[in-house]
Symmetry: C2
Subunit: 214 residues, 2 copies
């Protein structure tokens, strides 16, 4: 454990080993909350999967609710970090959207259970839930506003378009990566069909285009 | 109660009075599930708000789960009926979208709590949940395919576009009609700001346009 920090923030381990343990518990919590839901999940199941003692758990987290809240915040941070890395250096806004959406779907495909966790947070941990979406939307609004100001995309209400784009990603992910196949239709849930991705990007690209259309 | 029908389908009252009682219980259930969530809601709270005896409740519904499932189905049917009525006679697909989205937001604004109910159904009553979205998407795919076939909108994957449009409606409704104001910003949650609606429709209209853009 670190030297002076415990008094200031006793629940935040700063050594590499402490951080690894904390990460192990958060990953186990992601599994357990994702499979069982908040109400059915238990701290004992989380510690069992993480392979740590209950006493160790309480060094890092206060309660079931606090680990759930931290998990939602953690998921949001990891998602935004991956999207930021993916869009770095993109030459224009459409390419930002293409790379950002690609990174988003990759993230969801690798963490399918985060979706039910984040959705359940609306009732269980509303502050963490709203912060999750608010932070994503803030980055979006900033990027869209810039592209509108320099005339590379159509001038529209940037917040309306931010939520429009977030909604598109959400539902495409639900339908092709999260929900079970519909009506017995065989689907490859490992990744999004390319035709779906390209149709979505073409729609978005035209929606944002400055060209006048009729 | 009706005469012979009870033996065939004892849980489906067919008299006007029976239907009115069933409606009253469903409306109370919408209130209670919406406010408290599935796990905290109780049949006794539902019957109290509906003003009926628990014995009466069990004439119409088997359990907490069955009324929850029926409620999700009922919400989906009412929403689709209102949207169908709104788009009847629209001269083209863009006008269908404009009227359909308007009807959707009006419905959500009048039934804010349905949103948390439908979302909670994913875990509590998955069959009713998937049927809810599947039925909406089927109508969408049919309408989009027709408009693509007659060349009035851009030829894209119709199911990808159906989920794209459903996602847009979902997130715009969440942000402006369902979620509390963000960052202390004062908002009128009674209806969607016109500028948001118009930006969204302009984006969709361009997204679906057959004109080539760059």
């Amino acid at each position: 454990m670190s030297k002076g920090n415990e008094t200031e923030n006793p629940l935040m381990p700063v050594t590499a080993r402490g951080e690894a343990t904390r990460r192990k518990i958060l990953d186990a919590a992601e599994e357990v909350f994702g499979e069982l839901g908040y109400y059915e999940a238990s701290i004992s199941e989380i510690t069992r999967r993480a392979g740590v003692a209950q006493g160790t758990y309480y060094i890092y987290f206060h309660s079931k609710r606090t680990i759930f809240e931290e998990l939602v915040t953690d998921i949001g941070e990891r998602l935004r970090a991956e999207m930021r890395a993916a869009i770095a250096g993109a030459p224009d806004r459409i390419e930002v959207e293409r790379r950002g959406f690609r990174a988003f779907f990759n993230f969801v495909a690798r963490h399918r259970r985060i979706y039910s966790i984040v959705q359940e947070a609306e009732r269980v941990a509303p502050e963490a839930f709203y912060a999750y979406y608010h932070k994503i939307s803030q980055g979006y609004v900033r990027g869209l506003q810039e592209a509108m100001d320099d005339g590379t995309i159509r001038k529209l209400d940037p917040e309306a378009i931010a939520y429009t784009l977030m909604g598109i990603g959400h539902f495409i992910a639900l339908r092709w990566l999260i929900w079970p196949p519909q009506g017995g239709q065989k689907m490859n849930n490992d990744e999004l069909p390319e035709s779906v991705f390209e149709s979505m990007i073409e729609f978005i690209s035209n929606g944002l285009s400055t060209h006048i259309s009729g």
